[in-house]
């Protein structure tokens, strides 16, 4: 289970979201832009401290403001795929993939370099620099980089939003593969209903910082 109960006051609105979703599976955070999705994901990653609340994943407490627990992002083992991919421009695709892998050396590996390259079709891209990749390729590398850090939770913040329709169709099947083949729980942020219906096993509907509805999909 991923149990989340978080509160954060921002300039524009107040986020107060509570839900408990079964894991593994793809938990979709669905809502219009400005509904607080990105704020929520940043708090799950530990990059943004909540005003109060808890995050608990499979019995492990990652955040608990009452008990003063806040596992640092670098020790949280939460992979993050950003909307703008954020590949390191001075490293090749392979260098980017290895970055997280190297730092996860002490963690028992559930997924290896070769496996990620096969799963995401990255073999032809390994020697290229981020600026030599298309938008879709960049997101695939970013996905692989996050997976190789051996995360216990994978966050995807609108990973397809910056892509055109054709590129989305190029990346979506890979995401479906990850969902079906790996047992890593994923939180998928989107404001595109088709994407959510295709990928999600559980949906959390957000509006103006509140959970309107939550439940299993399909």
């Amino acid at each position: 289970m991923l149990r989340v109960s978080l509160r954060k006051r921002r300039a524009e609105f107040e986020l107060a979201a509570t839900f408990a979703a079964p894991t593994p599976g793809v938990i979709a955070l669905f809502g219009r832009s400005g509904s607080g999705k990105s704020t929520l994901v940043d708090m799950l990653a530990g990059l943004l401290p909540p005003d109060e609340g808890q995050v608990e994943l499979a019995g492990t407490v990652l955040t608990d403001t009452r008990r003063g627990i806040a596992v640092a992002p670098e020790r949280r083992r939460v992979g993050y795929v950003f909307q703008d991919s954020r590949l390191f421009p001075h490293l090749t695709a392979a260098g980017n993939l290895r970055y997280g892998e190297k730092r996860a050396r002490s963690i028992p590996h559930s997924i290896g370099f070769g496996e990620v390259v096969d799963l995401l079709g990255l073999a032809a891209l390994l020697h290229r620099r981020p600026h030599e990749l298309s938008g879709g390729e960049r997101q695939r590398v970013a996905l692989g980089r996050a997976l190789l850090s051996q995360p216990q939770l994978l966050l995807l913040d609108e990973p397809l939003a910056a892509l055109d329709v054709a590129r989305r169709e190029e990346v979506l099947p890979y995401l479906e593969r990850l969902r079906d083949w790996l047992s890593i729980p994923m939180v998928y942020v989107s404001h595109q209903l088709e994407e959510v219906l295709r990928l999600a096993t559980y949906m959390v509907l957000l509006e103006e910082g509140r959970v309107l509805a939550a439940g299993s999909v399909g």
Partner: protein, 230 residues
């Protein structure tokens, strides 16, 4: 114009040595100060910023004089350095390098700071989620992305350091073979009754050196930018 004299070669060699030592000495410090000025949030930051930039607006002679007051043979700090480490700075090549470093420090900090401000903090956050701690992030992400600015700062400071006059002559004097760098040799030649040909040659040499330095900086920065994919 006669053949190249040993005085000219001495001056050229000294200028290169002084500029190199001053850059080597001040570069790590400039990276640190640029970091503090860009990322640091503390009371007195504006004052610290102004202090770092002071050599840009002070008369170089005043900077040399302040150094002399601080590090001269009579000053407590100067005496301590002499007694504890046997280091004497006034009237030495090392002293000329120090005076040059102080004068070119703001140039270096400005270039490095600009490049640090351009580093996407989102990339550092990404490195964080991939398990990189603070020092790790700095060394593997921030520093490599700052490299064009660090190089630009170093080469600009080097080129400017070749020609530092006021602070050097005040703090380290004008000793042939020890602190008589190109500009000091040029000045000396101009003062002597039959020094005009030498002065002209030294001026041309300075000009060529400065131009080469600036062009070299530009090429180097372009090359590194290409390596970084920009």
């Amino acid at each position: 114009m006669g053949p190249v004299s040993s005085a000219e070669l001495d001056a050229l060699r000294l200028s290169l040595e002084v500029a190199t030592r001053s850059v080597a000495f001040s570069l790590p410090l400039a990276v640190l100060v640029a970091w503090i000025l860009t990322r640091g949030r503390f009371p007195g930051r504006t004052l610290f910023d102004a202090f770092v930039h002071l050599p840009l607006v002070l008369p170089p002679v005043a900077v040399g004089y302040v150094l002399l007051l601080m590090l001269g043979a009579q000053a407590p700090l100067g005496r301590w350095l002499q007694a504890r480490f046997g280091i004497q700075l006034p009237f030495t090549t090392a002293g000329a390098a120090l005076a040059t470093a102080v004068m070119t420090f703001p140039l270096m900090v400005r270039a490095i700071r600009l490049s640090l401000e351009n580093v996407d903090r989102g990339l550092e956050a990404a490195a964080r989620t991939l398990g990189a701690g603070p020092l790790d992030r700095f060394l593997t992400i921030t520093l490599p992305l700052m490299l064009p600015g660090i190089l630009a700062g170093a080469v600009t400071a080097f080129a400017a350091g070749l020609g530092e006059f006021g602070a050097v002559i005040t703090f380290a004097a004008n000793i042939p073979g020890v602190t008589r760098t190109l500009p000091l040799a040029l000045y000396t030649a101009m003062q002597s009754p039959d020094g005009d040909p030498l002065a002209l040659r030294l001026a041309i040499l300075s000009f060529v050196l400065g131009l080469a330095g600036l062009l070299g900086a530009e090429l180097l920065v372009r090359r590194v930018r290409r390596l970084l994919g920009r």
